[in-house]
């Protein structure tokens, strides 16, 4: 590392000593955009026509070039109309360039915040602006990406407002994290979760809960644009964190010369929409049980400033009540950004502080523990209504305590739902503080150095108060208290030198930099447990814990640092061909010191066909691109030499933790992509189509070994997981008349995953599979199997005779044994949770001041299991088909035919650990995802307001096609587990609302 710093410093010094030599006549000036928000334009090409002389504008739109009077200067910039000016007597030529009508050709923010012209990109990148993002407001802005960007698969959590989101770009590859990296204004965002559910039964320590993510803590109104970098070529400069692609968030900044106030208010009403098929009485009980949810989002922002300093300030709040009674969320976000120029623009400093706090009462859980839906769905008491149990407690005179009432004995999984909501209540409190500073020195016209630092703190707190007389499996006689606190801090710093230089017809844009990221996590967990208990009933504090080893008290610390150096160069040949090269080396503290350095390069090339060949008027733009990248990855902290854990009052953890079998190596991903982009008829129609192939090898797997070895699992680097696929986006403006315009976007993506290898043949330990969702005691699991796919789901399947009749022996259904190659521990492969392809169709129509937007979002292929239905049929007769009770033909093992009633058959087949193979559905679905009808009010010239816009919006309104009883776009976990199964998740909702935007 020390040597690299030396090299870097020498390089910087060399660059500095170079000075531009003065020529006879130097012309300088500023290039800006036109319009009310005129901005300096960096990166504009300035050439002296007919010569090889050229220059580029700097960050402030300034340029200098030598020329003689009478020469013609040509200013060109992708997406803007080219301007020619003849040099006269003046040495100063300022130019304002007009934007093209279609803003498709602008600058794209790429890795590390480096702006590049879109045409020079050698990989796929798709962006989406604030208007598009916020047409139909979501509490988590990432939810808005579904269907709008090709290849982005968005699954929202079933945990209601403030819930996390699972985003998958180009398929899953890792046993660890498969989510993309989020980057705010060039700096990686720390996006920890307070945990995600693992198995279908549920977590006895509070239920299967969503720990949330950081994205819901960001005010969508602060976002100017989102750019999705889908593959490793695009994100190679971010290193291992960018392995799964990157979502770049560019936030709003104050602008010189214009003072602006914007306010928006949003009111949405949602209702539970997609249930399993219940009988009339059960359905009416459930409908009574759920509320209408209301979400109210308000935001205000102020921005403005002078040439030297600009300010942006925003505040937003969100108040939501969910469809689940007592579920509430409130959130406040403040964002302040200051930009200032010093010393005639030599130094630009900017600082940003974002603070956000969120409180969620009774965040909905899935699974069987602590889930009010178990009792609500299975309520079956003749002559009574579920609402009769809204009085959920009564005095127990023996204890002088309010005790739970329910129509039958409670069980580990079933309690009075109102009791769970009021007397097993939970509260999540999440806070985010993000403070960053950016200093940029402009050394000369073509070199600048910038340094950034970020302090990023996330604080996640969870509390659950379980009152006495809760079911004994979940809490002892005096109740139970759970308290968890996580403090996650990320310190990031970098220094980057940037060069932008035109050498005759060759343009060079290069960066050299170094960065460091340090992450620390402090965790405190206190849980009086299912046996330890509290001294005094219903007092929820740690000092009330019984002092015995069955309570859980522990702390955990993690500290990790990654140092990096990196360099990139984009070389343009005559604005026709661009070559892009990057290299990065990381040193990670989580790898053994002998093996903690890993290097990875990427290379790409693109050719602008319309510049190289004369392709005629009809083709506005055409290019081809190709790139190859490698990305290395370290292992999680505390993996290589883990120490034994001390159990509170209970000595040591029983076995040594997982230790590596050999020496740990960094993981590697290599990826390759090609694509082409075409636009026709003055950009009325165009498409972008691409193919990619990625291979992820040497993942750090935990491999179970024979218990007779003295270990349970060892760690090895192994495996090869392949993802390949196509992505396409098409845009078209079918109609464009004076008053009416209709634009349409279609986004398509297909990903094919293959688990090429789990064990390398040379490994000391060979395994057949890796567990993604453990089966636990229920009959659902997901495994990675050689030759299979990521997301394969396994269920218990009924044995059937040649006529498809179930085989029943001695009063029990027989498990199918005819597919042993696809069976693991009694569970058979029944499908895959991931779609074969996704298709989004996004439309905007404007007529005068009226606009209509709608998004149709489709996912095709894949399977999903309704364990909810299985559980309801196992625990009650509340489904429609059990109530109808038709006869079902079954056979004995010897072939004797008999009949069972539906109640008998599904009583045997149902249940959490029953024949889940009977509850497999196609996950294919096509829905009207978003609709917005807007009106822009006509304002007089001297109106106080700049603009007023109101829209009626609808979200997740209906399905054109859906097979599963639940909404397959909703997931129980935004981690890797529990994909393709619904276990009493909160029903998906549809919502309607009103949105008002004011600007003045």
């Amino acid at each position: 590392m020390k040597r690299t710093i030396l090299v870097f410093s020498v390089l910087l010094a060399l660059l500095m000593t170079q000075q531009v030599k003065a020529q006879e006549k130097t012309i300088s000036g500023t290039v800006t955009s036109t319009g009310e928000n005129a901005m300096p334009l960096p990166g504009v090409n300035v050439i002296v026509k007919g010569t090889a002389k050229g220059a580029q504008t700097d960050f402030d739109g300034k340029y200098t070039i030598t020329a003689s009077a009478g020469d013609v200067l040509e200013f060109s910039y992708v997406g803007l109309t080219t301007i020619s000016v003849t040099v006269g007597a003046s040495d100063i030529i300022d130019v304002a360039m007009e934007e093209n009508l279609e803003q498709l050709d602008d600058v794209v923010v790429t890795a590390l915040g480096i702006a590049k012209s879109r045409k020079s990109l050698t990989y796929a990148a798709q962006d989406i602006n604030a208007d598009e993002l916020n047409k139909v407001r979501q509490t988590n802005p990432v939810n808005s990406l579904s269907g709008k960007v090709s290849g982005v698969v968005v699954n929202r959590s079933s945990s209601g407002a403030g819930g996390s989101v699972k985003v998958t770009l180009r398929g899953n590859a890792s046993l660890g994290n498969n989510q993309p990296l989020y980057v705010i204004d060039g700096v990686p965002l720390s996006n920890p979760t307070g945990g995600q559910p693992l198995d279908t039964f549920g977590d006895i320590n509070g239920g299967n809960r969503d720990g949330g993510d950081v994205l819901s803590l960001i005010n969508p109104d602060d976002i100017e644009s989102l750019t999705v970098l889908k593959g490793a070529s695009a994100s190679a400069l971010y290193g291992s964190a960018g392995l799964n692609g990157v979502i770049l968030i560019t936030t709003k900044k104050g602008r010189a010369g214009s003072f602006k106030v914007e306010a928006s208010s949003n009111l949405l009403v949602e209702s539970a929409a997609y249930y399993i098929d219940l009988n009339d009485e059960a359905e009416s009980n459930i409908k009574d049980f759920f509320n209408n949810g209301v979400t109210n989002i308000n935001a205000v922002s102020l921005s403005g400033g002078s040439e030297k300093a600009q300010t942006y300030f925003s505040y937003s709040n969100t108040f939501a009540s969910g469809i689940l009674p007592t579920n509430k969320m409130s959130q406040h976000t403040i964002n302040i950004r200051e930009n200032a120029q010093f010393f005639d623009g030599v130094l630009t400093a900017s600082a940003n502080v974002l603070a956000s706090t969120q409180t969620i009462d009774n965040r909905p859980v899935s699974g069987l523990y602590f889930n009010p839906l178990v009792g609500a769905y299975n309520f079956d008491s003749p002559g009574e209504r579920l609402s009769d149990y809204e009085n959920f407690e009564e005095l127990d005179p023996d204890r002088n305590i309010q005790s739970q009432r329910w129509f039958r004995a409670t069980s580990d999984i079933e309690q009075n739902p109102y009791w769970i909501l009021n007397r097993n209540a939970s509260e999540d409190t999440n806070r985010k503080l993000l403070a960053s500073m950016n200093l940029k020195f402009k050394i000369n016209d073509w070199i600048s150095v910038q340094s950034r630092g970020t302090y990023d703190q996330t604080f996640l707190n969870y509390e659950k108060k379980v009152h006495a007389t809760t079911e004994a499996t979940l809490a002892p006689a005096n109740g139970r208290y759970i308290f968890t606190e996580q403090d996650i801090r990320q310190l990031y710093g970098d220094v980057i030198a940037t060069i932008n230089k035109q050498f005759n017809t060759i343009s060079l844009s290069a960066n050299v930099g170094t960065s460091t990221t340090r992450t620390t996590v402090e965790l405190l967990n206190a849980d009086s447990g299912t046996n330890g208990g509290l001294q005094f009933a219903n007092v929820f504090s740690i000092q009330n814990f019984n002092a015995n080893p069955q309570v859980s008290l522990f702390q955990s610390s993690l500290d990790k640092k990654v140092n990096s150096i990196f360099a990139s160069a984009t070389i343009g040949f005559n604005e026709k061909v661009f070559v892009d090269l990057t290299a990065r080396n990381d040193w990670s503290s989580s790898l053994p010191s002998s093996n903690n350095s890993y290097f990875y390069p990427s290379a790409g090339i693109t050719g602008i066909l319309t510049e190289i060949f004369d392709m005629g008027e009809k083709i506005s733009f055409a290019k081809i691109r190709g790139s190859y990248a490698q990305v290395g990855n370290d292992v999680p902290a505390n993996t290589v030499f883990p120490e034994r854990q001390i159990l509170f009052g209970g000595g040591l953890s029983p076995l040594d933790p997982v230790r590596p079998l050999g020496e740990v190596r960094p993981e590697q991903q290599s990826s390759f992509e090609i694509g082409t982009e075409w636009r026709f008829f003055d950009n009325r129609f165009g498409f972008d189509i691409g193919y990619y192939h990625t291979s992820t090898v040497d993942q750090y797997f935990q491999v179970p070994v024979s218990t007779g070895t003295g270990s349970v699992t060892v760690g090895v680097n192994s495996g090869d997981i392949i993802n390949e696929g196509f992505e396409a986006s098409i845009f078209v403006t079918p109609v464009q008349t004076g008053n009416f315009k209709w634009t349409s976007n279609i986004n398509f993506a297909a990903n094919d995953n293959e688990v090429q290898e789990i064990s390398n043949p040379s490994d000391d330990v060979q395994i057949d599979n890796q567990v993604i969702s453990p089966p636990g005691v229920n009959t659902f699991a997901s495994y990675l199997v050689e030759g299979g796919q990521y997301g394969d789901i396994y269920a218990q399947v009924v044995k059937r005779d040649a006529n498809g009749r179930p085989v029943v022996d001695a009063g029990a259904i027989v498990i199918n044994d005819e597919n042993p190659d696809n069976t693991i521990a009694g569970l058979e492969k029944v499908g895959n949770a991931n779609p074969d392809f996704t298709l989004g169709w996004n439309n905007t129509m404007t007529y005068k001041n009226i606009s209509l937007d709608f998004l149709i979002d489709g996912k095709f292929g894949g399977e999903t299991i309704s364990m909810t239905e299985a559980i309801v049929e196992g625990l009650s007769n509340n489904t429609q088909r059990e109530t109808e009770n038709a006869l079902i033909e079954v056979v004995s093992p010897t072939g004797d035919v008999s009949t069972l009633t539906a109640q008998e058959y599904y009583g045997l087949a149902g249940g959490r650990n029953g024949f889940t193979g009977e509850y497999v559905y196609s996950a294919t679905n096509v829905r009207l995802a978003e609709i917005a009808l807007g009106y822009n009010f006509q304002l007089s010239e001297n109106s106080f307001f700049r603009s007023i816009k109101a829209s009626l919006i609808g979200n997740n309104l209906f399905f054109f096609y859906k097979d599963a009883p639940h909404d397959p776009n909703v997931t129980l976990s935004t981690g890797n587990a529990l994909q393709g199964v619904d276990v009493l998740g909160l029903p998906s909702t549809r919502s309607w609302g009103l949105n008002v935007n004011l600007s003045f």
Partner: protein, 529 residues
């Protein structure tokens, strides 16, 4: 301010940043809230801290759900002691011979993770330096592992920890021979160091008294010798006689029994009292109530279903006709007799003195030297068991020659009612055949062993006594004979997946198919003599 100054200050900032960046990466990894080997060595906790988990996981204290899978939903039911009122998995579970492999993994993993592994570490650290600490660890290891072998047959024992990824099984005969050798060595070491106080701080059974440990080791050796008395009578007799004639002797007084004085609740207490997942077995009701045995009140509460009456549940209940689901059926059967708090104290019984007298009675029946009088030992066994619970009326009970196990009536599902399978009485009959004498001895031993179902199930398989009721529903697909009942549990999934070659070899050593109907090595069909 000149530009050069600005650049200079800029470089100062940057160099500061770079120097912090260059700080070492080596020492960051590791969770300082955990404990390092170096920290463990203070107070010799690298050895001392390993015993408590061994004591508390032979019969696992916590979490109770894990014990439920380790023993309560297999041996405790197969032994005729207890029954689950809830027909888990819609009645398709272990107790109806539809074996749930996910459950049975715990029978294997709990002792390996907590006992075998710790014993290996203790062996490495103390064998040469503090042999008496090693000796106690060996006795605990045999205590835990003979139970595992009695469930599966072949186990990983002599070659434990020899390979990094797979492991080789011993046949049950090899394992038993190793148990005898390990006990012999441990007894010798403890005899040589009998006054050493070194173990007192870590001892959850005998407060560091090695004399008691030797008595227990002798008793355990006698138990294992009797177990193999049919299959290897010569070896059995020679090992058994070593114990019977050892100068320190065997456990013969109740305070010397091998109990773990755990720091946690008895696991069955949570399963029984809090969860309502276990109740009295119909066989227990038939024998204890039929004998008017006063121990019934120490073991069980009277039921709710028939006020004032002890009522057990038939084992192997399917999801019975007329019940929609498991919970509805449980709601009816949970009102049968609970286990009494008296047997569910934190003191977990692994070997009571009464058992030793019954072992000696059988040894006498088999003609082993030093066993003593058969009838005397039989009656002393009953007496010791009564005294363990502070009960009177011993002489009336011991001399009763008329009471027999009684017919069982299920008040909820009359179809489950069944007639008693035996007419064996209590009073000793010296004129009876050896087979009848053995039935009498084992029936009384079965009562005295309660609630330790693992030993009771093993002895039931070896001798066929007492005659406990068969399952109501046999869902083994013909693998298990309903009347012969379940003989073992198949090798566990985790081993099949991680160690397939080892398991294949173990199946050869088992000498029959890897299913629940195959007899173990010591389980020889036919008469006991």
């Amino acid at each position: 301010m000149k530009n050069s100054n600005i650049f200079l200050s800029g470089f100062v900032v940057i160099s500061l940043f770079l120097s912090s960046c260059a700080e070492g990466l080596e020492d960051l990894d590791g969770n300082p809230r955990n404990i390092t080997q170096e920290q463990l060595e203070v107070d010799f906790q690298n050895v001392g801290s390993l015993y408590k988990p061994m004591f508390e996981n032979i019969y696992q204290y916590t979490p109770p759900w894990s014990f439920q899978l380790q023993q309560n939903l297999n041996a405790d039911v197969f032994s005729g002691y207890m029954t689950n009122p809830r027909p888990f998995v819609a009645g398709a579970n272990n107790t109806t011979y539809n074996l749930v492999s996910g459950w049975n993994n715990f029978i294997w993993s709990v002792p390996y993770s907590n006992v075998m592994n710790n014993a290996k570490t203790i062996e490495n650290e103390t064998r040469e330096t503090f042999p008496e600490l090693f000796a106690v660890s060996q006795i605990l290891k045999v205590t835990a592992m003979h139970r595992v072998s009695d469930v599966f047959g072949p186990i990983v024992y002599t070659k434990f920890g020899e390979s990094a990824t797979t492991s080789e099984y011993d046949s049950q005969e090899e394992a038993y021979n190793a148990f005898f050798a390990d006990l012999e060595e441990a007894i010798q070491i403890l005899s040589d160091n009998i006054d050493s106080p070194r173990f007192a701080a870590f001892d959850l059974a005998y407060g560091g008294n090695y004399e008691n440990w030797i008595k227990y080791a002798n008793a355990l050796r006698l138990r294992l010798a009797i177990r193999i008395s049919k299959v290897a009578p010569t070896k059995a007799q020679s090992e058994g006689e070593k114990s019977l004639n050892h100068p320190v002797g065997l456990i013969e007084a109740n305070p010397d029994g091998f109990f773990v004085n755990g720091t946690l609740d008895h696991p069955v207490r949570t399963i029984n009292n809090s969860w309502g997942d276990i109740r009295m077995n119909a066989s227990m009701e038939s024998i204890l109530v039929g004998y008017e045995d006063p121990r019934v009140g120490s073991y069980f509460n009277t039921s709710e279903v028939e006020e004032g009456v002890y009522k057990g549940v038939r084992n192997g209940l399917p999801l019975l006709p007329g019940y929609d689901d498991e919970l509805a059926q449980k709601a009816d059967y949970v009102t049968f007799s609970l286990l009494a708090d008296e047997v569910l104290t934190p003191r977990v019984q692994l070997m009571a003195a009464a058992e030793v007298f019954f072992l000696k009675a059988e040894a006498g029946l088999r003609g082993w030297t030093g066993a003593g009088d058969v009838q005397g030992n039989y009656e002393q066994g009953i007496t010791t068991s009564f005294q363990q619970y502070g009960l009177g009326g011993i002489s009336d009970y011991v001399s009763n020659g008329t009471r027999t196990p009684m017919d069982y009536v299920d008040p909820v599902t009359p179809g489950n009612s069944i007639n008693a399978l035996s007419t064996i009485t209590i009073a000793w009959d010296d004129a009876a055949t050896n087979e009848e004498k053995l039935e009498r001895i084992i029936t009384q031993k079965w009562i005295a062993l309660f609630p330790e179902g693992q030993e009771a199930w093993s002895e039931y398989r070896r001798t066929g006594y007492p005659k406990i009721f068969p399952v109501v529903s046999n869902q083994s697909g013909g693998v298990v004979d309903t009347d012969l009942q379940i003989r073992r549990i198949p090798f566990v999934d985790s081993e099949l997946q991680t160690n397939p070659d080892g398991v294949a070899d173990a199946v050869t050593k088992l000498g029959g198919p890897d299913n629940a109907g195959t007899r173990l090595w010591w389980d020889v069909p036919g008469g006991n003599f």
